[in-house]
C-alpha cells in the first residue's frame, strides 16, 4: 500500500469498507466523530480554508492592476508604479506638506541623530504584505510597498512576487531601490517587516541593505505621543483620529494571507486588487503620520492645529530625552490650557522640573496653583507635605496636608503610601510633645 493511502487511513480521511456490513452506519458515525476530533486539533488548518467568493472567470493582473513585468538576471516579477500629487490631500494632510518633513524633528522622534543629516527625499517608506503574521522563516513578503518623495510628489512602487519563484528577483530589485535611499520609515517595521525581509534575503543568499540604515519606526512615537487618547495604536485608528482619513471597504489585514494563497491557485487578479490598495494606502498614511509626528515637535505649544494632550505628550518626550528647557518652555504655555487634564498634567511636570532643580519657591507656587484649581489634588498635597516635612521641618503642617490628602485619595496604593507617611508624622508629633 502506498504511503498516501496509509496516511489517509491514519488521519481517517478515506471511507473504508466496514468489517461487517451491519455496522456501516455506526462506522460512518465514528468517522464523523473522528472528523470532529481532527477538526479540533491544531493542524485543523490543513482542512479547506474559506474560499473567497470570486465567482466566474478570473481576470488578468494587467487588466485590473496597472503595472508592468520587470525582468532582471534573477527572473521576473511585477511592479505597480504610482504617484501622489503634491497638491492632493490624504485626509486632513496635504501631500506637499509631507514632503517638507523637518529632519531634526524626525531624528528626534526616531532617537537616531543620523536621520538629521538626511533630507526628506532620502527616506524610504516601506510596508509589506505577507503570508502570515507570526514571523519565522516560512513567511513570505509577497508584496513590498515602497514610497519616497521626488520634489513634492510622493512616488510609490509596489513590488509583487506573483509566485514563490519570483521572490529572489523581486528582492534584488528591492535592494537596488534601497541602495538609493538613506533612511527607512515604517510602521512596526522594527519588530516585523524588516526582520522578515532580512530573513528572506538570507534565505535567497542576497546582501542585506537594511543592516546599517537609520530607521524611523512610527509605531513607537505614535504610541508615545498620541497613545494617551487613542483606544489602540493600529495604523487604521491613527488614520481616522489623527490624519482624518477614513478607508472605504478596506480589506482587513487578517484576510490578506488567504487572498494570496487563493491567488497562487487561481491567478485571478480580482483577489489582489484590494490587497494592492490596502498596501498603497498604508504607505501614504505613513507619510502623513510622519508629517503629524514631526509637526508636533515643531509647533508652538499653543498651536490650535494640535490636540493639547498630544502637545503635553511632546513636552514629556522632550523632558525624558533630557531637553528640559524645551519641555519647560512648552509647559509654561500648556499650563494655561482650557483642557483640565492637560493643565493639571503640565503643572505637575513643571513642578517636578522646579523641584529637581532645587527651585523650591517656584515648585511650591505651582503646587499651590494646583490646589487653587483642585483643593483635593493628592499629588500637590503630598508634595507639599514632603516639602513641609523635609525642607521646612514643620511636622504639623505636613500632617495637615497628609490628612487632607487621605480624605481625597482614591487608589489603594496611594492610600497605603499616605497612611505610611501619616503614621510616621504622627509618631514624630508624639515624640516631639
Amino acid at each position: 500500500m502506498n504511503v498516501i493511502d496509509r496516511l489517509k487511513r491514519l488521519s481517517g480521511e478515506t471511507k473504508q469498507k466496514p468489517h461487517q456490513p451491519s455496522r456501516q452506519a455506526e462506522i460512518g458515525e465514528l468517522r464523523n466523530k473522528i472528523e470532529t476530533i481532527m477538526a479540533r486539533r491544531p493542524d485543523a488548518t490543513i482542512r479547506t480554508a474559506p474560499q473567497n467568493a470570486f465567482r466566474g472567470k478570473g481576470r488578468l493582473l494587467t487588466d485590473l492592476i496597472c503595472g508592468e513585468e520587470i525582468a532582471n538576471a534573477f527572473g521576473r516579477f511585477y511592479v505597480v508604479p504610482g504617484n501622489v500629487d503634491g497638491s492632493s490631500c490624504h485626509g486632513n494632510t496635504c501631500v506637499r506638506d509631507c514632503a517638507a518633513m523637518d529632519m531634526q524633528a524626525a531624528a528626534f522622534i526616531a532617537n537616531d541623530p543620523d536621520i538629521a543629516d538626511c533630507t526628506a527625499a532620502d527616506g524610504l517608506f516601506l510596508d509589506t504584505e505577507t503570508t502570515g503574521l507570526m514571523g519565522g522563516t516560512g513567511t513570505l513578503a509577497f508584496l513590498i510597498g515602497l514610497g519616497w518623495f521626488e520634489g513634492d510628489v510622493f512616488v510609490t512602487r509596489q513590488i509583487f512576487a506573483r509566485d514563490f519563484a519570483e521572490e529572489q528577483a523581486a528582492l534584488v530589485f528591492l535592494n537596488e531601490i534601497v541602495r538609493d535611499r538613506k533612511f527607512l520609515v515604517t510602521f512596526n517595521g522594527k519588530a516585523f517587516d524588516i526582520g522578515l525581509l532580512t530573513t528572506r534575503l538570507i534565505l535567497n543568499r542576497l546582501p542585506n541593505p537594511f543592516s546599517a540604515m537609520p530607521h524611523l519606526d512610527l509605531l513607537h512615537p505614535s504610541r508615545r505621543l498620541f497613545g494617551s487618547r487613542l483606544i489602540n495604536h493600529r495604523l487604521a485608528t491613527l488614520e481616522e483620529s489623527i490624519i482624518g482619513f477614513y478607508r472605504e471597504d478596506d480589506l482587513p489585514g487578517s484576510e490578506i494571507p488567504q487572498r494570496y494563497f487563493d491567488w497562487l491557485k487561481r491567478h485571478d487578479a480580482r483577489l489582489m486588487v484590494d490587497v494592492f490598495e490596502h498596501n498603497r494606502l498604508d504607505i501614504i498614511s505613513m507619510a502623513a503620520l510622519a508629517r503629524h509626528l514631526t509637526e508636533l515637535m515643531n509647533h508652538p505649544a499653543d498651536s490650535d492645529r494640535c490636540h493639547p494632550s498630544d502637545l503635553l505628550c511632546a513636552a514629556k518626550l522632550f523632558h525624558d530625552r533630557g531637553q528640559v528647557p524645551e519641555a519647560h518652555r512648552r509647559l509654561l504655555s500648556l499650563m494655561n490650557s482650557d483642557n483640565d487634564e492637560v493643565k493639571a498634567g503640565s503643572l505637575k511636570l513643571l513642578s517636578l522640573i522646579h523641584k529637581r532643580a532645587g527651585r523650591w519657591a517656584e515648585a511650591v507656587a505651582v503646587w499651590e496653583t494646583m490646589l487653587e484649581h483642585d483643593p483635593g489634588d493628592v499629588f500637590a498635597l503630598t508634595e507639599l507635605a514632603k516639602w513641609c516635612e523635609h525642607r521646612l521641618r514643620d511636622v504639623h503642617r505636613a500632617e495637615h496636608f497628609v490628612s487632607t490628602a487621605l480624605a481625597c485619595v482614591e487608589t489603594q496604593k496611594g492610600r497605603n503610601s499616605l497612611v505610611h507617611r501619616s503614621n510616621r508624622l504622627q509618631k514624630r508629633l508624639h515624640d516631639n510633645s
Binding site: N2, V3, I4, R6, L7, R9, L10, S11, G12, Q16, H19, R23, E26, E29, L30, K33, I34, T36, I37, R41, P42, D43, T45, I46, T48, A49, T131, G132, L133, M134, G135, G136, T137, G138, L140, D163, F164, A165, G195, T198, T199, I202, L203, P257, Q258, F261, L264
Partner: protein, 792 residues
C-alpha cells in the same frame, strides 16, 4: 549510640536474618581501577592548566579516545556509567576549537532544562578557569526576551533542549545565522532518553537541524553520550542516520557496591498481599540517614515521592530539630529554585535524604551518595543501573537496594535475579517514519527551507508526501520546489513529549491576597492529580484542590492536613478504526491496527496513610480525552467463554486478571515503560467495555443519544459482546509496539500462563492477575481456564 559507617551497616545487614530472609539475591560488585592516558599533544596549554587546577592531570582512557574522535570530525557515541567524566569528552574538543578559531559555535542538547542549566554551569566553570572570552548560555523557554538576541549572536556554546530547538531555533534559523554559519559541534547527551515517541521526534528534529546546517554550508560533528543500553551504536546511528563510532569501555574507576534484590514478605497468603514496598524503604532509609549515610530513594511515581517524603519527615521530626530540608522530595513539577536548592544541599551534605522520581536519574550533579534505594523496578535494566550509579563514592563501599512491588514485572525481576544481573540492558527503539510524526516534521522542515526535488527526508517517498501536503494546501509547488504556503506556524502544532504541550499551574490560595504558584502539572497529569477535591502534595505538604480551571489552566489549592491521599479512577474505551493485519491463533482472532481511545476520569478513592485503607469515594466531572493510536488485540468468541463453568461476572473478572498480567508482561517484552502502553477490555465496535467503578467491575454499553455524548447503560449482558483484550500504544499515532505484540502473541500468552500457574498465591495477587480484592476471588482460576482455551 555510635553511628555506623556504610561498611559496618552492610556487614550487619548481611548478618541480619530477618532482613536476609527477604533478600532474593546479593551481588558484591568489586571496585575497579581506572585506566588513564596522557592529554593528547594538541590540547591547548590553557586547557591543561585549567583542568590541572581541578586536579585533572590526565584523561581516562575513554575520554582520550572520545576527544580524539571529536577532534578528527568523527561522529561518536560514548557509553558511560554515572560519574565517569563524560562532560569533558565534549567540553574539551569544543573549547579547544573555540580557542583555535574564536568564531566557532557549538550546540548542546539536553533532554531537560534542569540538566541544561547544570551543564551550562559546568562548562562555564571550566571557561572561567581558562580566563578566555568564551560565552555559554542556556536557551530555553525560561530565557528572557531581552537576552535572546545577544545569545543568538554571541553565544559560543548554546545549551538547549530538543523542544526549543524544534519550536524556537530551527523555525527562526536566519536569526541564528551566526551560529549556523560557524557550527562545528553538536552534543547530544543522555541519548538513551530519546527512544519511543520522544526519540522518533528527536530523529526528525536532527534531520531538520542537519538540513539547516547544510544550507549554511556546515556539517557539524556529533558527540553523543548515552547510559548503558544494549544497542548504543545502532541507536545513535538510527537517530543521526549516519555511521557513528562507538566507545563503550569506561576508563573511570568504580567503587565497590553491594546490590540487594529485596522482595517484601507476604503478609496475607490468602490474598497474596505483600508488605508495601514503601515500608522497607522507609525503614532502611531512616536507618541509613540516622547513621549519617547520605541516601537517595527512587520511586516510580510522583505520588510515592510525596508519601515517602512525608513518612521520612515524620521520622526525623521526632528526634532533635533538623533543618527543614534534611529530608527532601524531588520531582518534575517542583519549581526550579526549589530544585536547585535541593541539588546543592545534596552536594554540600545539608540534605541527607532525598526521595525522587527518575528526575534525578539523569546526569544532574548531586555528588556521590552512600546509598540508593529503589522502590519498585524502574522499568528497565538500563534505568536500574543508572539509578544505582547514584550511590558510589570513590572510597569505601556503597549500597544499592531494589525493593520489588507486587506487580508481575517486579516479581519477575526479583524472583529471577539471573535475568537481571546477566542480561544485557534494553534496546532503544525509534520509529522516526511514523507517518504522523514524520508529517509534522515535514511541515516544519518546509517552513524552515523549501524542499527541492531529490532531497532526502526520512525513508518514505518524499515526493508523494510533499504532493499530499500540496493537495492539503499547506505547500505550494513551483517547478521542482515546494514552499510553505500557509499562515500557521507548524512547529507549534506538535509537542515532542506529550499529547498536549500545555501545563496547569497550581496556585496556593490559602492566604487571601498572597496567592502563590507552588507547582506545575502537565496537561495529562492534571486530570488525575489536581481534579477538584483531590489531595495534592508538594514537599509532603497536603493541599486540597478547591477548583481546577481547565480554560485558564490553573488549579487553586488550599493547605490542609488530613490523614489520607486521593487516587483518581479512570475509564478507558477503545474502538477499532482499522485493521492492519489479522491472524487466527488458537481459538482467537488476533489483530493489530488503528484505534480510537477515549479516556475519562470519573472519580477518586480516598486512601488512608500507612494503612492504605479505602476511606470513600468522590466524583469528578472532567471532559473526556480522546486519542488516535495503534493497538494489538485479540477477540475470544463469547460462545467459547459461555461454556466455561463460571457466570458472566466471574468470566469478566478472569478476563480482567488476564489483561492485567498480559499488560505487565507486554511492557517487559517490549522493554517499554508501563506508561508507554495501556490496556482495555471491550468490544471491537467500541460499543461495550468493562469499567471498574466503585461497585466493582461492570460491563458498560456506550450508546449515542444523537448529540455526540455517550450514554452509559450498566449491567448489560455479555450476549451481545465478543470480549476483546486491547493492549495499545499510549501515544497518538503509535510507535510500533502493537505490531511487535501481534507477532509475539503466542509467546506472551504462554508466559502469562506460566506466571499465573506458578504464582504461590491462592486466589490471585498483584504478582499475577492482580490483587484478588480488586479482580474478584475467582479471577485467577477463571484466567487460567481462559488461558487453557487460548494459550498453546
Amino acid at each position: 549510640m555510635a553511628k555506623l559507617t556504610m561498611e559496618e551497616w552492610l556487614a550487619r545487614a548481611e548478618n541480619n536474618r530477618r532482613f536476609m530472609e527477604n533478600v532474593k539475591a546479593v551481588k558484591h560488585l568489586p571496585a575497579t581501577d581506572g585506566s588513564f592516558l596522557p592529554f593528547p599533544p594538541w590540547v591547548h596549554p590553557a586547557i591543561i592548566n585549567a583542568l590541572g587546577k581541578r586536579g585533572i592531570k590526565q584523561l581516562y582512557s575513554h575520554q582520550a579516545e572520545a576527544v580524539e574522535h571529536a577532534r578528527n570530525g568523527r561522529d561518536v557515541v560514548l557509553v558511560t556509567p554515572t560519574a565517569s567524566g563524560k562532560t569533558l569528552c565534549y567540553n574539551l574538543p569544543v573549547l579547544q576549537k573555540i580557542l583555535e578559531e574564536p568564531e566557532t559555535r557549538a550546540l548542546y542538547i539536553f533532554p531537560t532544562k534542569a540538566l541544561a542549566q547544570d551543564q551550562m554551569h559546568e562548562a562555564q566553570g571550566l571557561i572561567n578557569e581558562l580566563t578566555a572570552d568564551i560565552k555559554t548560555y542556556t536557551y530555553d523557554g525560561d530565557t528572557p526576551d531581552d537576552a535572546r538576541q545577544a545569545i543568538r549572536k554571541q553565544g559560543h556554546i548554546v545549551v538547549t533542549n530538543p523542544d526549543m530547538l524544534h519550536a524556537g531555533i530551527l523555525p527562526h534559523h536566519t536569526k541564528w545565522q551566526k551560529l549556523f554559519q560557524n557550527i562545528r559541534y553538536v552534543v547530544i547527551d543522555e541519548l538513551h532518553v530519546y527512544r519511543g515517541v520522544f526519540g522518533s521526534h528527536l530523529t526528525n528534529v536532527i534531520r531538520r537541524l542537519v538540513r539547516v546546517c547544510r544550507f549554511y554550508g556546515q556539517s557539524p560533528t556529533f558527540v553523543c553520550c548515552s547510559a548503558t543500553v544494549a544497542n548504543p551504536k545502532e541507536h545513535a546511528e538510527n537517530i543521526l542516520e549516519r555511521p557513528v563510532a562507538l566507545i563503550e569501555k569506561s576508563g573511570a574507576p568504580t567503587a565497590a557496591k553491594t546490590f540487594f534484590l529485596y522482595n517484601p514478605p507476604v503478609v496475607n497468603r490468602e490474598l497474596g498481599i505483600r508488605q508495601s514496598a514503601l515500608t522497607p524503604a522507609r525503614i532502611v532509609a531512616s536507618e541509613l540517614i540516622a547513621n549519617d549515610i547520605q541516601t537517595i530513594v527512587f520511586t516510580t511515581s510522583r505520588l510515592n515521592v510525596e508519601i515517602l517524603t512525608k513518612y521520612l519527615k515524620d521520622v526525623f521530626k521526632k528526634g532533635a530539630p533538623v533543618d527543614k530540608n534534611f529530608v527532601s522530595g524531588y520531582r518534575g513539577g517542583y519549581l526550579p529554585n526549589l530544585r536547585r536548592q535541593i541539588e546543592s544541599g545534596l552536594r554540600t551534605g545539608d540534605v541527607m535524604g532525598v526521595v525522587s522520581t527518575n528526575a534525578l536519574e539523569l546526569g544532574i550533579d548531586i555528588g556521590d551518595l552512600g546509598a540508593c534505594i529503589m522502590v519498585g523496578y524502574p522499568g528497565s535494566i538500563a534505568s536500574t543501573w543508572q539509578q544505582a550509579g547514584r550511590a558510589g563514592r570513590r572510597l569505601g563501599k556503597s549500597l544499592a537496594l531494589l525493593i520489588a512491588r507486587s506487580n508481575p514485572m517486579d516479581q519477575f525481576i526479583v524472583e529471577n535475579p539471573d535475568y537481571f544481573f546477566s542480561r544485557s540492558p534494553e534496546h532503544c527503539r525509534v520509529n522516526p517514519d511514523n507517518l504522523l510524526i514524520l508529517l509534522h516534521h515535514l511541515k516544519s522542515a518546509a517552513f524552515e527551507l523549501p524542499f527541492e526535488k531529490g532531497e532526502q527526508f526520512g525513508k518514505e517517498n518524499l515526493v508523494d508526501l510533499l504532493s499530499y501536503l500540496e493537495d492539503k494546501g499547506v505547500l505550494h509547488r513551483v517547478g521542482e520546489r515546494w514552499h510553505w504556503a500557509a499562515e500557521s506556524y507548524p512547529a507549534d502544532e506538535v509537542s515532542l513529549r506529550s499529547i498536549n504541550p500545555e501545563n496547569v499551574v497550581v496556585i496556593d490560595v490559602t492566604e487571601a491576597g498572597a496567592h502563590k504558584v507552588i507547582a506545575e502539572v502537565d496537561w495529562d497529569s492534571a486530570f488525575t492529580a489536581v481534579h477538584k477535591d483531590a489531595v495534592y502534595m508538594v514537599e509532603s505538604q497536603q493541599y486540597h484542590v478547591e477548583n481546577l480551571d481547565l480554560e485558564a489552566k490553573k488549579a487553586y489549592v488550599k493547605k490542609c492536613d488530613v490523614d489520607h491521599y486521593t487516587d483518581a479512577m479512570t475509564y478507558t474505551n477503545v474502538r477499532v478504526i482499522d485493521v492492519f493485519d489479522e491472524k487466527k491463533a488458537k481459538n482467537v482472532i488476533c489483530e493489530h491496527g488503528e484505534v480510537q481511545v477515549v479516556r475519562k476520569v470519573v472519580g477518586y478513592k480516598k486512601i488512608k496513610f500507612y494503612t492504605s485503607e479505602n476511606l470513600g469515594y468522590g466524583d469528578v466531572t472532567l471532559p473526556e480525552k480522546d486519542m488516535h493510536t495503534t493497538s494489538y488485540w485479540f477477540t475470544i468468541p463469547r460462545n467459547l467463554l459461555q461454556k466455561l463453568p463460571y457466570n458472566e461476572a466471574q468470566i469478566i473478572d478472569g478476563l480482567s486478571g488476564l489483561a492485567y498480567c498480559l499488560y505487565h508482561l507486554a511492557a517487559m517484552i517490549l522493554m517499554a515503560d508501563v506508561r508507554d502502553i495501556d490496556k482495555c477490555i471491550g468490544d471491537k465496535s467500541g460499543e461495550w467495555f468493562v469499567r471498574h467503578g466503585r461497585g466493582g467491575r461492570m460491563l458498560t454499553r456506550v450508546g449515542t443519544d444523537g448529540k455526540d455524548k455517550p450514554v452509559e447503560e450498566q449491567n448489560a449482558m455479555m450476549d451481545a459482546f465478543d470480549p476483546t483484550i486491547f493492549i495499545f500504544d499510549a501515544y497518538p499515532g503509535g510507535i510500533g509496539f502493537s505490531e511487535l505484540l501481534f507477532e509475539e502473541h503466542d509467546g506472551t500468552l504462554t508466559a502469562a500462563a506460566g506466571l499465573i500457574r506458578n504464582c504461590s498465591c491462592s486466589y490471585g495477587c498483584p504478582s499475577c492477575v492482580g490483587p484478588s480484592l480488586d479482580v474478584g476471588p475467582l479471577a485467577k482460576e477463571a484466567a487460567l481456564a481462559i488461558l487453557d482455551l487460548i494459550a498453546i
